[in-house]
Amino acid sequence: MFRLEARTSTPAWFNLALPLLAIAATLILCSGLIAIAGAGVVEAYGVMLSASLGDSYALTETLVRAAPMIFTGLAVAIAFRAKFWNIGAEGQLLAGAVASCFVGAIPMPGYLAMLLMALAGAAAGALVALVPATLRVRFKVDDVVSSLLFNSVIYYALMALIEGPWKDTFSGYPISPPIEDSANFPVLVEGTRLHLGVVVALIAAPLCWFLIARTTLGFRIRVTGENPEAARYGGINVQRVLLSTALLSGALAGLAGVGEVGGVHFQVMSDISPGYGYSGIVVAMLARLNPLGVVPAAIFLAAVMTGAEAMSRATGVPAFLSDVIQGTALLAMLVALLFTAYRVRRVGAQT
């Protein structure tokens, strides 16, 4: 028999190695599916790797895809730190996209437009996140369920917009009118889609780290999450911390939507997010809720997504493999996390 035994301390290298172990386990587990699909495992992963990180263009594509997941990953990481279970990053992202698209369509100088888009998107995301937080604080409604259900509410609101007032009367497609050309985020490298929003995402991560690790609010968030009772005794207004966390988390998720509108699609459509909000949960867990870890975790998932499409074209393995990898990575990481708190000890019958 094996038994889990509490660890008194965790070696430092272990903390860094864990996500890598989880990813390795994931890739090994998922190679079974590649084999079932009748392709060579090494070849399939090889194509994924070269198509996502192999050359400078592939790399920029991966970064463009990583940007929204950095934002949603940060949103989830900060929320989970306070044990505000924000499963609603997807809806908050959509709200941010809609708000920024609305602002971006108003003619005004480019940089003003971008700034206002960001503000509007962040505000919209924050407002959406405030709903489950308020419901929890005021009515004790489970935030997991309410934030989850709100994803559907926001999605249908978006659909109502693009099939109603925003519908393209010329083509009849359910897409919003494009934002002004001047509001399009500048492209940083000619010939790629690497836009300003990606840089903002990369800067947001250390800022969030600073906020969590070095500021009073960050301290309150951490204490509230780790021990709400102690927080209360220590004079922290737990409810207010939860609401602030929700605002911050929602704003970050909203910014993910802003980036997709301003930098990638320039308009809103029904499939503007292939589930970046849910991927944010995977990213945050792989990052162990550390904002700095969010960047490599998001880049990893983005690489899997970009690579999966090329792999599918080259080997015929369905690109949905990337969804399986995401789910497996989350579960593998959870198991890996177990080993920071416990170690496996052999007990009972000695052989």
Partner: protein, 314 residues
Amino acid sequence: MSAVFEQIFQVGFLAAIIRIATPLAFATLGEMFSERAGVLNLGIEGIMLLSAMAGFTAASLSGSLWLGVLVAVLTGMLMGALHALFTVALGLSQHVCGIGVTLFSSGLAYFLYRLIFGQQSVPPSITGFKPLAIPLLSDIPVLGPAVFNQFTLVYLAIIAVPLAAFVLYRTPWGLSVRMVGENPRAADSAGVSVIATRFQAVILGGALMGLAGAFLTMAQFNAFTFGVVSGRGWVAIALVVFGRWDPWRSAGAALLFAFVDALQLRMQASGLGQVPYEAFLMLPFIFTIVAMAVMSRNAVAPSALLKPFRREER
């Protein structure tokens, strides 16, 4: 308004409510068993999707609908066991594991479906279950054709509710489930295996979620599409809260939700005013959130919900 009122009492409308309520009732009962034992199963959305896919595939390849149902149920049980392995045996976060199970199962469902059926412009379909009229009972005016001329799985759902109540409240196993959900330590002292009971409850829950998935692809739509579950699993989680973790109330909640949903469909079809149909699609979710806010004041969640149990710790 009276026109709307008249529509509600039509046979077709009543039948639609029952039909919409069936997968929700299975899923809600499944989630309820799991939560009664202290395990929140957020994997439900993915479990329903994977079961729906597996059942459809089995039925489509074998030509046997009941084999499809069996495969869907087994798939649900397997994924339930996976969730239990993470949350019960390893004691990991139920929230995050559930999301993980959902992401994993939906990814797997899409992956395998594409692998087996390829990319087709028209999704392959099967001849699903046919309504089965129950002699005599189906002759009752209005109620007969609406309730007793349905798919066999609908009757199964109708039987499942009292059965679930009986199992939960009147059998030793049901008592164990309630004990490990309320006070696992006391249950442990009384000689009930917390781990085993929770495993069983989550796996039974998975079986019911599998039935919900089977109904979607083998009775309701007769095909598997990527949006076949479209939030029904999440709704079931809310319905458990709304139904206060009780089989009868949960089934009632499912019926109420189905009523709102059927009304929404009718209103869409009648092109009521200028209201966008998305507003109606949104309605059930908003309704559920508001209902939760109202209900949760005196909600009685199992006390040990979300709390992992490790014997050697306190």
